[in-house]
Structures are given as C-alpha cells and as structure tokens.
C-alpha cells in the first residue's frame, strides 16, 4: 500500500456515469424480470378469482357438493368433476408409485449392467417428453380397444360392486386412469432415481458389510434414507395428475352424470374446462372459472406440501 500519488500502477478511477448506469440499470432490470414470477402468480389467481366471483356469489359452497351441471337452466355444481379429478389421480398414483419406485430401484441398485440401466433411464425420460395429446390419440385408437376385453372381464367378475357395475363401452374412467399412470410414471421414476442416487455409498457398503442381502439393504437402509424425496416426488406427480388435461379429456368420456363405476364415462375439472370453455357464455364461464379456482387451490396445496416435505425432511449427507 502506498500513498504516493505519482505511482500510477494503482490508480483509483472514478467509474464513468455510463458504466454506473449500466451496472445499476442491469440490476434493476433483472429484479423487475424476477418479479414477473410473483406478478404472474398474483395475476393468475386474481384473474380466475375475479372470473369466478359471480358463480361463487350465486352457488356458494354448494357448488362443491352438487352434481347438477345444467347449462339450460343455469344450475351448476362441480361434484362430478371434483370427484373424477380426485379418484382418477389417486388411483393412478396407487398404480404408478410401485411401478415407478420399482423401476428406479432396478436402474440404480446395480442389478443390471450400466449400459442397460442408462438405456432404461433414457427411455423413461423420453416417455415424459411425449406430448399428452399424442398419448391421448394413442389411448383412443390403440389402448382403449386393446384393454376393453380385460375391462369386460373385470365387469363380469366384479360387476356386483358399485365400482364395476356398468358395461365398458369405450371411453371411461379406467382408461383415463391408465393413461394418467403412463404420464406420471416418468416423474416418479426420475425423482426416485435421483433420491436413490443421493444415498451415500457408505450406507450401502455398511449394510452389505454386516451381511445384508441386496433387498434387505434396499428395504431397511436405502429406501428409508431416500423416502422423503420420494414422497415429495409422489406429491408433485399427484399435482401433475390432477391438472393433466389433454389425454384425460380425450379418453374419459366427459360425462356429466355421477357414477361410482370406474368403467363408466367420467369427468375431471381440467377435462371439463378443455371441453366447455370455448363454447361457454354467461354464468357458465363463471362456473367454469370457479371450477378452475378449485383445481388451482387443490394443486397449490399439494405442491406446497410436496415442497415442504422435500425441504423439511431432506437428509443432508
């Protein structure tokens, strides 16, 4: 350090105004762009709440438990759609979780050669990239005709229960659930795979060292260590399943009548929006906005819970 002003190896330079302007200006610009996220969220909520305002005033909370959807007499209730959303996404989850976690274990736990593992991983990730409308097209023309004999068998065997008491005739809740399974399987697999990969090698080595079998180690050591991230991923995919629109719309049958039967046509909130929004007018638009608000709140709760789970319980190794 020198105070010698003649030494110009170190000179204090006053930054020119342009440079300072660029510096602060860029910071303000990025700040503004980052706030777009907050504004968008607020905008989405306010737009939909504002649109739903009229229907909320007219139908109140009864909207949630009424199954009337009658554009002629302007009577609206979203029970069929809310029930369909919950049933389809929860049942899809029940099928997809074992499949997804099992696949993730299969491709992380050194059961098969590395090349095969990454090939399966790649294929599952590519499955996630297929647009939902293409899956819907495939479901209409290929999957639904192919599984109908199986559904008919189900009806013959279990037709005495309210869940299978209708004859399968094309689109319905069951094919919609299956296509949802296809859609959320890659998410569950990818998140479970990441979670399992993060379990430190030492835990596995210790388990094998004391004589555990591979599956003993998986069930007693590795899965418990990764469970929080896996549960978070499952919640995220539940949110995705509830909001999934196109494939479900194309195969669920869009019935406005309530039915417990999984073989009968059903409806979900997002399918109802996709089908009716374009042609709706008057209070029907408002009722649809109300349904959209319900869907948004449901997915919001599920997503926030998922994030809290991942954040709160993530083990740091």
């Amino acid at each position: 350090m020198t105070t010698d002003s003649s030494n110009d190896a170190f000179t204090l330079r006053r930054r020119p105004p342009l440079e300072r302007f660029l510096d602060t200006g860029f910071r303000q610009l990025t700040l503004a762009l980052a706030s777009v996220v907050a504004l968008l969220l607020l905008g989405i909520f306010l737009t939909i709440a504002e649109g739903a305002h009229e229907a909320i005033g007219t139908f109140g909370a009864g909207f949630l438990v009424s199954s009337a959807w009658d554009p002629v007499n302007n009577q609206y209730g979203a029970l069929v759609a809310i029930y369909g959303t919950m049933v389809s996404s929860l049942l899809a989850l029940a099928i997809a979780v074992p499949l997804g976690v099992g696949t993730a274990i299969f491709i992380t736990e050194d059961l098969i050669p590395t090349r095969l593992r990454s090939a399966i991983g790649l294929m599952v990730e590519l499955l996630a990239a297929i647009p939902s409308v293409v899956l819907g097209l495939w479901a209409i023309f290929v999957m639904e005709p192919a599984i109908r004999p199986a559904l008919e068998l189900l009806h013959r065997l279990l037709g005495w229960t309210p869940f299978f008491d209708t004859i399968p005739q094309g689109p319905g809740m069951a094919p919609a659930i299956l296509i949802l399974v296809v859609m959320i399987l890659p998410i569950i697999t990818a998140i479970s795979r990441d979670a399992l990969n993060q379990v430190p090698l030492e835990l596995r080595q210790a388990a094998y060292g004391i004589g555990s079998t591979r599956w003993g180690a998986i069930f007693n050591i590795i899965l418990p260590a990764a469970i929080s991230a896996i549960v978070g991923g499952v919640m995220l995919s539940l949110g995705r399943a509830m909001g999934e629109t196109m494939a479900v719309t194309m195969i669920i049958g869009n019935s406005l009548n309530f039915s417990f039967s999984l073989l009968a046509p059903g409806n979900t909130i997002s399918a109802m929006l996709a089908n009716q929004f374009g042609e709706a007018s008057g209070i029907q638009v408002s009722a649809l906005m109300y349904a959209a608000l319900v869907l948004m709140v449901l997915t919001f709760i599920v997503n926030v819970l998922a994030q809290m789970l991942v954040r709160r319980f993530s083990l740091r190794y």
Binding site: R15, A34, V37, I44, I48, G51, I120, V133, W138, T245
Partner: protein, 303 residues
C-alpha cells in the same frame, strides 16, 4: 468360552463352514424374486413408450409426404390434404413463447443467482417459481383467456397467435428461471473474483464471464422447455384457437399441430384421424430430436 481357548482351535467359537453363496437359502430366494419383480416393473414402465412410438411411427410415418407440409387440412369428410398450416403455426407460437420466456427467465434467474443475497424476496421468488411450475397447463390457458382474450387487451383482438404464445410462455418461464438459477450457481466463485480483481464491473462480469460459462446448462434447460411447450395443447385450445387456413398474422387465430391432433382425433372421419397421426409423427420427431439435442448439449458440461 474362556481366555484359555486362545491358541487352541476354536471350533466352538466360529462357524467354520466355507463362506459360499447358497442359492437355496430363503433370503436368497426372496432376493431373486424381488429382483424379478423390479425388472418386471421396469419392463412395464417402458412398454408404453415402445408402443406409443411404434404406433406413431407406423401410423403417422406412412403418411409422410411433401404434400403433408404444403397443403391445408381438408374439410370434414374429404380425403387428402396436409397439415402445413399447423406446422407453421406450431413454429410461430413456440417462437413467440421462446422470445418472451427466455429473456424474462434468464434475467430473473440472473437476479436470483447473482444479485439476491438469499433475502426474503429471492426466497419468495424461488418458492413462487416452484408453485408456478406446478400450475396445471389448462389453468395457464384459462388465465390468458381471462386476462387477454376476453378483455381484448392486445390490439382489440380476442383469439390470437400472440395470446397462445403468451400462454405457452407462462408455462416455459419456471423451467427457464430454474435452469438459469441453478446453472449460474455451478459457476465457480473464483471466476467472478478474478473478473472483479481485474476491475470488471458487476454487469461486465455477468455478461462476459458468468453467463457464458453457464451457457451449456442454460441452453439444455431452454431447449427442453421449448420442446415441452411445442407439444402443449391445453393452454392453446381457447387462446390460439384453431384455423383451417394459413396463418395470417400474429393477431388472428392460428392452427397448431397439438390442437389439430386434439380436434381431428375426436372427429368421426378417417381422413382427419390419419392427419392427426401424421401430425403426431411430426410433433414427436421434433420433440425427440430436441430432447436428444439437449442431452448432447449437457454431455459437454460433464466433460
């Protein structure tokens, strides 16, 4: 067993049977069964991909011809025609979305990673970004309908390609922000210190040093986001709508491949169904190429 057994052969202390793997043990049989079950699950998981790809390639691939890209879809009930307007429309709408979402997303990501010191605002934006990523795509469509289409806020037009592009941009934004934020976090702190050390300002450091070194992860994320947006249908059904004609302007309704698939799949005409398969083929090939491209990008980063 006592101290005195030291030195003596301790047959009583250890099991001296040879350490060998016995297939018939219960634990090993359970092991094999469970491995088989996991393998079965993995097979079931990839069956849909194989089947979907097979049908899209066979049903759609057989219809690929030049006229598919140069002709308009036929009126219901007639044969022939193509999906030229929908191919152009998908490119236009996706381009609008990318032009909006990339600057906003990269800028927001820069703020989160480079400027915010982990304060409440940054935490709130990150949280909000995760929430926005979870908003169903149909809700984005309803939002843009309510905010833009119904209010006719854009040049007094209702349904338009611009509105569709904005709906897709809302969908892309969280991915772009997230990948920028995480990509910039991976840049070694020493690079920034080095830049400050030679007298660079914050702005110059970010634009000349930090952002270029994070190019690969950001590009990967952006390509993936674009690929995802190109296949989205739900936000477009009542924003961009559909049009049987060639695109006229950004301010009029526009055909896209995804909406075409949706509209034509549920029509009772075979010609339309065939065009839906052909559009699926084009869309899936485009998206798979983009995905493989992104993978190729990210393989650079790992080197």
């Amino acid at each position: 067993m006592s101290i005195s057994t030291i030195g003596a052969p301790h047959e009583d202390l250890f099991d001296r049977r040879p350490l060998s793997f016995d297939r018939r043990l219960k634990r090993n049989r359970i092991n094999r069964v469970l491995t088989g079950v996991a393998g079965m699950f993995a097979t079931i998981a990839i069956i849909p991909l194989v089947l979907v790809l097979f049908y899209v390639l066979v049903q759609g691939g057989s219809l690929i011809s030049l006229s598919l890209f140069t002709e308009l879809p036929p009126p219901p009930g007639l044969d022939g025609g193509g999906i030229g307007n929908a191919v152009v429309g998908t490119l236009v709408v996706t381009l609008v979305a990318a032009l909006v979402a990339i600057p906003v997303g990269v800028g927001g990501g820069i703020y989160l990673s480079e400027y915010s010191m982990g304060g409440w605002f940054a935490r709130f934006v990150r949280f909000g970004n995760d929430v926005l990523a979870g908003v169903p795509s149909i809700i984005c469509g309803v939002f843009v309908y309510g905010a833009i289409v119904a209010t006719r806020i854009l040049f007094d037009r209702s349904y338009s390609a611009l509105a569709g592009g904005l709906a897709l941009a809302v969908l892309m934004l969280p991915t772009v922000i997230k990948t920028t934020d995480e990509g910039l976090k991976l840049v070694p702190q020493e690079l920034r210190w080095g830049a400050y050390g030679v007298g660079a300002s914050r702005f110059v450091t970010i634009v000349r040093i930090t952002l270029p070194s994070a190019f690969t992860p950001i590009a990967t994320g952006v390509v993936l986001a674009i690929a995802r947006a190109a296949g989205e249908t739900a936000p477009l059904i009542f924003t961009a709508l559909f049009s049987p004609f060639w695109p006229e302007s950004l301010l009029s309704p526009i055909a896209t491949m995804s909406v075409l698939i949706f509209n034509f799949a549920i029509m009772p005409y075979e010609a339309q169904n065939a065009l839906a398969w052909a559009a699926s083929f084009v869309l899936v090939v485009m998206i798979l190429i983009a995905n493989l491209l992104a993978r190729w990008f990210s393989s650079f980063a790992q080197r």
